[in-house]
Symmetry: C3
Subunit: 175 residues, 3 copies
């Protein structure tokens, strides 16, 4: 009987574990970010617990529209200037063509009544998707909390937090 | 005794679950598509149940050689024109160099007696790898079923189908 | 009682399994390689068993600083010439700009006291991260063992070895 109880609790634990999903959003490309949000909101709509870790270029998604990159050196300022943030400014991974391909993709998304990245972001927030900003790359790329959409970020964390979540999740993607 | 039976069936269920693998083929780059098929056919040869979800640029793999992109607007037609499909027309992610790097890579693959993407695709089909086309991106990119290799596609599905498969699989990759 | 023993050993097996992580390092881009090593060393510091499979452009990480690409044909030699190896020569995935963006990123990493890829590689080795070179792509890209840092590579393997490891791991990433 005792064994059976343990069995049951193990099954429950396993079932609960099955419902978690993590995504590392490494890329800041419009199409890859879009894919991340489609998967994240899809999983949330199925009752799964979703955590998105924004790191490297993916941090651009979390930047305020016109926030400058603060930083001590000239380098950091130059990188910030090149690497404009905000959900509306993400380039396409292919056919960017100085903005023409990206504009075309956005037009197509609009025609297909596809939500924008900003709308997907809001939807994810409403559905309880956890939004985490990676502190390691924030340091390297010179991104301060003040330049991020702080009120919409659920946490600032490093690799240990990610790995703890991932170990408990059944689906872990790097996008 | 009863507990033990449950234990056994749980183990069997777990063992069966271990044998599943899903790959989201997001990229349409020759090298990344090749890596996807190497993993998929490798897993199938080990008796694993493999599902490949082709989405975004990965859908190019499933397009007929000379199929035009049908679509209402000019935008969609332009994107279709730039974004030529078919397993023989995939570019390289690096060193594409207006086709020179890609041609070189194909030459190398031939010298090494490496199968082409088309041969890998046929092999995957023969081994029972499930080929799924993502309906969401088909809509956005203006890809109609008629332009796809329909007789070789096992299904058309969205994110919910993907997540259901992924939750039952032990290895899930985004390529 | 017997059932319970089995239950316990199953739990132990499961717990042990939870501690494994695999990363396919497909990309040879500085930023993606860096992300791979941050995750790998982070997991190793948490006591997890980590295996990194270097394939395609990721094999550049394992190449000796000035090793030429040996190969029968002219093609292979040309690809080797374009595709310079060594941890210090990896380009950035974005803003490479003929080396300017990459140099800038390295400067930022230095300012932030971030370890270089070479330092991360050494750290990973010290922490017991398993370094595997993919034999399939070594063949295609014409990379001989002599051009690789053989004394630091733990094994040469193909897709079957990868899949066996991945099936036993709870986190599997393709970077």
């Amino acid at each position: 009987m005792e064994a059976r109880t343990e069995q049951t609790s193990a099954t429950v634990a396993e079932a609960k574990q099955k419902k978690k999903l993590t995504i590392i959003v490494f890329s800041g490309d419009l199409d890859r970010v879009l894919a991340s949000f489609i998967i994240a909101t899809g999983a949330a709509s199925m009752g799964q617990e979703v955590t998105m870790f924004f790191t490297f270029w993916g941090l651009n998604v979390l930047r305020k529209e016109k926030a400058p990159t603060k930083g001590k050196g000239l380098m950091r300022r130059m990188l910030g200037w090149m690497n404009k943030g905000g959900t509306n400014r993400l380039p396409l991974s292919k056919f960017h063509m100085y903005g023409a391909g990206t504009a075309m993709m956005k037009k197509l998304m609009q025609e297909s009544k596809m939500p924008t990245v900003e709308e997907m972001f809001q939807l994810a927030k409403q559905m309880g998707v956890k939004i985490i900003a990676c502190t390691v790359t924030m340091g390297v790329l010179g991104i301060d909390k003040e330049t991020l959409r702080q009120e919409e970020i659920d946490g600032y964390a490093g690799v240990v937090t990610y790995l703890s979540e991932a170990q408990q999740s059944s689906v872990n993607l790097f996008i």
